[in-house]
Symmetry: C2
Subunit: 371 residues, 2 copies
């Protein structure tokens, strides 16, 4: 996984959390919102989603400097009934409004059986699965979708990208087992995965990246070109090729967009890009948070027992390779979390250097390393 | 598409509807439920989902004869609050309880902003997209999932199948455009598609079917063996291979199972098969129907306008092949429906023969052809 080696530090979670809080406060974020944001980002690093944790600080700094990101914003409920609500993120970071939206959906579901909360005028909120896990801690199921600002996914039959990697997360509690937590981008792979292949000059599998004629791009340098420099081509939707059902991944990406943004008043990135007139215009990312109380449908405990019975069947499924057992969604992240809580989160020296520079620029104390 | 030729009849929709009603009534179904079921099945044939329409009658006859399928059942609401409900399908066909469940979710969403209805003790309900379309006719978004009785999808890393092709449907209304309707199995392809390759002895694409070691099976005869005769191997989840993200399709299949069956009290097929003691035991398939009123989140019309703006962008996306424009989910079905309303639904002579035999056995009038 590239998590160990001479260029990699191991940093305990509480140091990461403290470092993120210090920077967010120096940037003018309200204290409670900074604590919430740091908690989400640190948990994201702990479960192994390195691309969405502390490494995002560089992007957040650029967006703040450009005036796009309003870190002092406090999210506001602008519309509400017994089981739905709409929240204005105030052009702030997605994490605090994400936690607020999920909690509101949870409270509504506990009272009414189901709750759905839409968020607009938000930005990046990290890993959708974090919010889904929050709901399972209250005994609820959750579904979350989000739009994304960067247009990089090419629709089936298309020559140019129109969608982000719009995530879908779904979680459900069990009794004996850890909760089921699915958290997926609706593209075949993340852009970061292509970047890792590009940095190592490794040939890509067929079907990850497509060019303007819909052909697979397997040359790493050319794939990077299609992702980051050329307007045509890009990541494929889940499925990869038309023959392998990429229209399904394309449709799921649109579902995430419609629930996350069309329903909430968030933007559709190709339209936003086309109309953008000022560099400080916020991205207006949208999110959708839904929670369901299983006790609205079944006697208390029955759902969780059936989840356990199903998970037991999945665990008992004979594996194709005896060394690699069948997993339940959420388990890779649970394993990563246990390991990283013990050994620390891997932080590349290059990232440590970026954090030091951000501290110097913002006036925040550098606390990632030291006694 | 194999829709024309010497072995294919073209039958108008009203004949198909009348034929299905005649048979269902002869089987003892209540008149209103038979009409609803025939409507769903006929619409499914009209939109081109041949595998889920009138061709299902042979299976329904076998299940009825075995005593599994209780066609005289009337579905009952067994639990209800302002925005959720649970419905007992009475071991009947899924179509009438599906329409009832979707309508109930729609009524609740119109009153409360969101409605979710679970169904248990059901059977096959045809194409999930049919129910999603019903909600858009009332101006609502819909999400539907279902479990499935036949275990045929192999989880990522597994050697044997544990899941059905558990569908997910999602729909949303627009103003100028036809509604967005996504209706997908969570496997890479349907078993029927493999069957067509098998009948034509055509080599399968890599990644559709996997063997007990997780290797792609591309020989058509061998693929049929893995699907219909051998206990190990089977269809892959959407994504196809681990490298192409099949864990995402596997997770989505489980999401469809959890919402459709774990939440509702439906069965998990591997457990049902393991515990089944009598041939007449119902399958206890479960479904989940959710409707959302966009007016709970946005001013009237704003959602539909933004749907149109997004669909316009998708239509204007430069295609990889100028002959094949980028489509919006639901459009292939809309095109098929227009064509089949005009030219009739293609009915292979073999299927016509089966229908004649069912008529003879049940005492129903044969009305598919004739003046």
């Amino acid at each position: 996984m590239g998590d160990t080696g001479p260029g990699i530090l191991r940093v305990q979670a509480d140091r990461i959390r403290a470092q993120i809080i210090a920077i967010l406060l120096a940037w003018g974020m309200l204290e409670d919102l900074a604590e919430t944001t740091a908690e989400v980002m640190t948990e994201t690093d702990l479960i192994g989603v390195d691309s969405h944790g502390i490494s995002m600080l560089m992007l957040y700094e650029r967006m703040r400097t450009a005036g796009q990101l309003q870190l002092q914003a406090r999210p506001q409920v602008v519309r509400e009934n017994a089981c739905t609500a709409l929240v204005d993120g105030g052009a702030g970071l997605g994490h605090p409004v994400g936690v607020m939206g999920m909690r509101l959906a949870v409270e509504k579901a506990l009272a009414a059986g189901i709750g759905a909360v839409g968020v607009f005028n938000s930005h990046h909120f990290g890993a959708a699965g974090y919010y889904a896990r929050l709901a399972t801690e209250r005994g609820l199921l959750a579904m979350i979708t989000s739009s994304a600002r960067t247009v990089v996914v090419v629709p089936t039959r298309g020559a140019v990208p129109v969608l982000g990697t719009n995530p879908i997360a779904f979680a459900a509690p069990a009794k004996r087992n850890r909760p089921f937590v699915l958290d997926i981008a609706t593209s075949t792979v993340a852009a970061n995965k292509v970047k890792v292949y590009g940095l190592n000059d490794k040939t890509l599998p067929e079907g990850w990246v497509a060019d303007e004629a819909g052909r697979s791009v397997t040359d790493a340098a050319m794939a990077m070109d299609y992702l980051y420099r050329r307007p045509e081509g890009g990541l494929t939707p889940l499925g990869g090729t038309a023959e392998m059902g990429s229209h399904k991944g394309y449709g799921l990406g649109l579902m995430a967009q419609i629930l996350g943004a069309t329903l909430t008043g968030g933007s559709f990135s190709p339209l936003r890009e086309g109309r953008r007139t000022r560099a400080d215009e916020p991205d207006n990312v949208g999110h959708f948070f839904m929670a369901i109380d299983p006790r609205a449908f079944r006697p208390p405990g029955a759902f969780e027992e059936d989840m356990d019975a199903m998970i037991d069947v999945l665990h008992a499924t004979p594996p194709a390779d005896p060394e690699r057992p069948v997993l339940v969604p959420g388990e890779p992240e649970d394993l990563a979390r246990a390991e990283r809580l013990r050994d620390g989160v891997p932080i590349p020296l290059t990232l440590d250097g970026h954090v030091r520079e951000i501290c110097a620029r913002s006036g925040a104390a550098y606390v990632l390393q030291g006694e």
